[in-house]
């Protein structure tokens, strides 16, 4: 096979791969939407009880400009909270992996932090700190950083001992060990933690909006349902889903890019 035919062959494979991965789930989703539409129409379910897909698509375009500022608030809060929790989670993980005593003392507390239902505290905290975004972002950080942290610590502790031995044979100091051996070896574990943290950031961010404050997509859902505007409420759910997909997908793409060098580990 010449170089040219090889390249062309590889390109066709990629397009077929793409279609193969995209068509099945899209067909499933399309089928589910059709079932939904049919059931609502057949049983004459009124729009103030449950919106049909056709109603929702109308709402998506009509109310977009109205929803946009809330969309911006939700998207920025969750993204900022997520990024902060990743940074804090990783930094703490490096400290915990380097100083055993710190680990014993802090780990149970960190586990506890993600189990505390911060969402329930949001209304109370907002009374004190105001209705702005700070309370929501802090909620996201507290709920999400433990997931980054716990997975990173486990990954650091489970570094391949033979690979570590190379570092020992060269008498590398802790910083060098981390940089050249432990961090690269732990990447897949770290990414697992980051993906879980993204899910938690979504949940914490949206729930915080639903319980306190008056901005954000979560808040709009409660607001619209109050007036039985189910189509507009569902359109907010879709915008939230889009953010979740973009965030999770972005992380997966980044993971593939960073790890592709040593796939056949």
């Amino acid at each position: 096979m010449t170089e040219e035919t090889k390249v062309r062959f590889n390109k066709t494979i990629t397009i077929t791969n793409l279609l193969g991965t995209v068509i099945p789930p899209i067909s499933l989703i399309a089928a589910l939407i059709l079932v939904w539409q049919y059931t609502c129409t057949k049983n004459n379910i009124p729009i103030w009880l449950l919106a049909k897909p056709t109603d929702i698509s109308k709402a998506l375009s009509k109310s977009f400009s109205l929803i946009l500022p809330n969309l911006w608030v939700t998207y920025t809060n969750i993204l900022i909270g997520f990024v902060i929790s990743v940074i804090i989670g990783l930094v703490l993980a490096i400290l915990i992996a380097s100083f055993k005593t710190l680990g014993s003392a802090l780990t149970p507390l960190i586990v506890a932090m993600c189990c505390i239902p911060m969402v329930t505290l949001v209304p109370m905290l907002m009374l004190i700190f105001g209705l702005g975004n700070n309370v929501k972002i802090i909620t996201i950080v507290i709920q999400a950083f433990p997931l980054v942290n716990m997975n990173a610590v486990v990954a650091f502790m489970n570094t391949d001992p033979t690979r570590l031995e190379l570092m020992q044979s060269l008498k590398a100091n802790k910083f060098q060990q981390f940089r050249f051996c432990i961090l690269p070896d732990s990447l897949s574990g770290i990414f697992t933690g980051i993906k879980l943290a993204s899910i938690m950031s979504m949940i914490a961010g949206v729930s915080a909006e639903m319980t306190g404050g008056n901005t954000g997509l979560g808040n709009r859902i409660s607001y619209f349902i109050q007036f039985s505007k189910t189509a507009e409420a569902m359109s907010c759910v879709i915008y939230i889903a889009i953010l979740g997909i973009l965030l999770y997908g972005g992380i997966s793409l980044l993971e593939n890019k960073m790890i592709k060098n040593f796939q056949r580990q």
Partner: protein, 266 residues
């Protein structure tokens, strides 16, 4: 021996596992002269790998003294950076980091020792050429064959121009042809650099082919049972394998190992 560059005196090593203590080494006494190529052979579990890890200060002895290049190791403190730069260590499995290219793997010890400069870059290019790996310098380890990975691991261990090289069964996982080729290449590198090499292997033929001296060990616990000088009139190359004296040495060592194992069964 007068002025050995490495000397191990009365060294014992006991490992503490969850269930019981294992004595890996018992009263080990060994000496290595400057520029010598010495092999340590023995059955698995006799502590050969433990000995070179003690010399490279990866682990500490339970008691006894290790003296390297005039410096006696402190059993409670790690050795200095200058000392570790004089030593090189090559692993059983190439232990290349899969996220680095061959070139980056080979350069890694320089980064950690804080060495830089054109002499080392030149050394790297020279070594890559020497083992026929220049074409693969920017390739990732996942794409290399076993022999190529091993070669990369070997030149990585030598990149910082150590005076003393520890090799832990470096060719054990390779097929016979590749192993023999690499043995001859190692001899060439040894002649060119004048390094002191301690070579661990369970392959008696390999030991007889390349070494000037052989230590024979037994296991449970690890002890030195014999020391042999290997002398040939002819130059060391693959033709030597057919020589009568070669076969004599091999048989002698195999008998020593076999006798020990029989004794243990009694």
């Amino acid at each position: 021996m007068e002025n050995p560059i490495i000397s191990i005196k009365n060294v014992n090593k006991t490992f503490d596992t969850r269930k019981h203590k294992i004595q890996a080494l018992q009263d080990i006494n060994m000496e290595f002269g400057k520029g010598e190529l010495v092999s340590i052979v023995g059955p698995s579990g006799c502590g050969k790998s433990t000995i070179i890890r003690l010399i490279d200060d990866i682990i500490k002895p339970t008691d006894g003294t290790i003296t390297v290049d005039g410096l006696t190791y402190d059993n409670n403190k790690p050795i200095s950076k200058e000392m570790i730069r004089k030593l090189g260590f090559i692993f059983q499995i190439s232990n290349l980091y899969p996220w680095l290219t061959v070139r980056e793997n080979v350069l890694l010890p320089l980064k950690i020792h804080g060495l830089s400069g054109s002499e080392y870059e030149a050394n790297m290019e020279h070594l890559l050429k020497y083992v026929d790996m220049e074409k693969y310098a920017d390739v990732y380890p996942a794409e290399l064959s076993g022999g190529m990975s091993q070669k990369a691991g070997v030149i990585r261990g030598m990149i910082h121009k150590p005076q003393m090289l520890m090799m832990d069964e470096p060719f054990g996982a390779l097929d016979e042809n590749t192993r023999e080729t690499l043995n001859i290449e190692l001899l060439k590198i040894w002649k060119e650099t004048g390094m002191t090499i301690i070579f661990i292997t369970h392959n008696v033929e390999e030991a007889v082919l390349i070494s000037q001296r052989v230590y024979v060990m037994s296991s449970h616990p690890g002890r030195v049972t014999a020391e042999l000088k290997i002398e040939f009139d002819k130059p060391r190359d693959l033709d030597l394998i057919t020589d009568l004296k070669f076969a004599e040495y091999c048989t002698k060592i195999e008998n020593l190992i076999g006798r020990i194992e029989l004794a243990q069964i009694k």
